[in-house]
Symmetry: C2
Amino acid sequence: MLKLDAASNMPLFQQIYCQIRADILSGARPEGTRLPSLRAMSKEMQLGKNTIESAYAQLALEGYIAAIPGSGYKVNPIYGLLHQIESNPTVAFSLSGNDHAQKVNQHYRYNFSYENSDGSTFPNTIWRKLTSQILTDDAPASGYSTEMHSYGDAAGYLPLRHQLASYLYRSRGVRCTAEQVVICSGLQPSIMSILRLLQGECNIIALEDPGYHGARAVYECFNTNTIAVPVNGDGLDLAVLVNSSARVAHIAPSHQFPTGVVMPISKRMEILSWAIENESFIIEDDYDSELRYSGRPIPSMQSIDTNGRVIYLGTFSKVLSPGLRMSYMVLPPLLYQRFCEIFSGFQCTVPWLEQAVLTRFMANGLWERHLRKICLQKKKKHDVFVNTVNQLWGERAIIHGHNAGLHILLEFTDGASEKELVSKAALSGIKVYPASNLWKDKALCPKNCLFMGYGMLSESDIVSALKVLKAAWC
Amino acid sequence: MLKLDAASNMPLFQQIYCQIRADILSGARPEGTRLPSLRAMSKEMQLGKNTIESAYAQLALEGYIAAIPGSGYKVNPIYGLLHQIESNPTVAFSLSGNDHAQKVNQHYRYNFSYENSDGSTFPNTIWRKLTSQILTDDAPASGYSTEMHSYGDAAGYLPLRHQLASYLYRSRGVRCTAEQVVICSGLQPSIMSILRLLQGECNIIALEDPGYHGARAVYECFNTNTIAVPVNGDGLDLAVLVNSSARVAHIAPSHQFPTGVVMPISKRMEILSWAIENESFIIEDDYDSELRYSGRPIPSMQSIDTNGRVIYLGTFSKVLSPGLRMSYMVLPPLLYQRFCEIFSGFQCTVPWLEQAVLTRFMANGLWERHLRKICLQKKKKHDVFVNTVNQLWGERAIIHGHNAGLHILLEFTDGASEKELVSKAALSGIKVYPASNLWKDKALCPKNCLFMGYGMLSESDIVSALKVLKAAWC
């Protein structure tokens, strides 16, 4: 006998469906049992036949009952099967107690984190206006609509790629067509695509040591063979690279991470020679080339590559926002053709709307204006950081990697170890990061360096935080 | 002698830099040559010393020249290296002639494509408003700013994951915490993540045959061993699955693609038993569950999985827009923990802003209102399609997979082959798609079926196009 609740929010046909289903699953209506006819049920429950029929139709659709022509509905064999799968339930409904994702976060007054941005330079108002414009233009009658609601080109929105190709040529000497530019959702997916493009051919990757941990994380996650090549005063150690079996070198020649070294033109040419002779590739990771505070941006290695050995990577994370998850790679012609073959059935993972907004931002001249503004703002922070460090520590701290980017490697010459520095800072509510995290070969890494990012802090916070550190470390 | 052009847009220091660099690269200023002193150059060029110094500093930074203490600047060994790398240039600057990306597109009057959407149901106005609101709220003083401009959780924006967990429970019976929901940039990246999560353990994947070609493309691209399991009248052939060595089954039990079959509860339970006994996993691809035109959405397999064997996949591509590139997966607890360990250094590839807009959209009740509206609109198209086909072809065409989704498998019983149908349609300016594309085992596929998507066409276009086809095929 079904019990219905007319006052419930659940529609009556659904209540009937639920109760009959529960009966079947509990064995109360065994396999082969006939359900009451629509007419009989309708009369008994005092409901319209349609209501009963909706419930029966859903049960039949899901396979709980089967319609027998001329004989109504019969219960299918379910009960026995259910017992098999429910006899050893192993899953608890709630993970709250075991939630790995909720890391315990000590509260810090100041955090010299490198990764994030403080957002004050993000062009909120313009971004909002351009987004509105495009969504207004994106009426079904306009051409935009088709583009926004289609899967699009695996390499991304072509007008954006045109803008980028043009900008990269002007600013970094990168020589490519718009088609060679591939829009990606950040460094990590770019590396995953490159690994697939080079699969079977270039299985051993040389990484700068120290180097960017985010890149190393991807290579290791996907079990790539990597070789850690030490970094000298002018970039990675060429002799080690040449004598290794690496077929790819992932380097940041314009602003080595984290040492800040700029690789001189002679070494760039030697690495290109190596690549040509070995049919190897160079991944040029140009992650913050726009942020150079002294002198002009360094021309890319790609600009002197006449043999298609360089894969050039750039990102909008540092100069716009990491939250956009937008980056790009410029593939040499051979790899671009391979990309078209291999990824032809794929879709670009960056949302069309975001690409369209950025295209307008670049086409309207707002992009380069934004770059100038952001460079000025970051330079001020940089100068405050460097000057304050010099005032507070003088010769007891050596600054590496300044005049560009948003990070510094700070080396202490007075015998302090990174461990002490980190823990004393923490006691005063300041989070600083040991430089050794960035070395793979821990034997080679210095023990007296800190890796300091200042992108998140305001100028006054930088000064305050450094003063607190000075007190904490004395 | 340097030649400067005062009228040029290029700053003077940069002109000096370029000319000296060119001289060095051409060998005109050989290795070891001293550059004129700042004072001498300044006097000769009639320019301020700063201008010269800027040029020299840039050249030194890039390694073209070296500063000799007390002796000015000297040219580094560059010329010889340049010759090595330029002796065999292999790359032409322009790809325009070889551009694979520009496929030749015959112009079709009507296209029964499945992939894209016509955009008329995308909630433009609301999306624009919510985006504006969030960017206005996203002032540096508010909490949002930190979130938008940080790299965020690898699994995505937690408030969105809360909304999804709640919605999925109400609509599909999916039982999970917010943490188990992972936001992804579409089916293909989801599959790539799953392959990494199951690496080494579940190397052979069973795919429905016929099945979704987009999923098969990813598995094949990454050289996964796949087994094509035929699809019967009630879903994939269990006997074939059980007798295979597959450890993962990728299935669409609520609306098999492309046949439309709904897998009955009994078979769902049998597949779950198989998964429990073999410690296998089931990827439940629920790509268009919201679009059901008759009866309610089918409860998910995940809702009856008490052993953590089901990975549930859903997407916003069909019900919002493919251009958003947003989807999600619900990981069983074991795999969620593994995800946290393996991908802890990674970032979610979906832009924060998009996730924040969608969160508000769902939180404000607009999502379920949108679903009802879109379901009605798609149902109208569906009904027009089905009724028109019945009118025009009667028993000569059998419709498979209707009452849900945005596609139909159309089977012709009068002896026509798909090849003929496709080419005759093309001659009349209509693009239709052979169903055999969706079968891996071509021996098993019917030769008389077309795979028709109608999401892109308006109701009147559907009628017109079908009438043209009727004429074309007679």
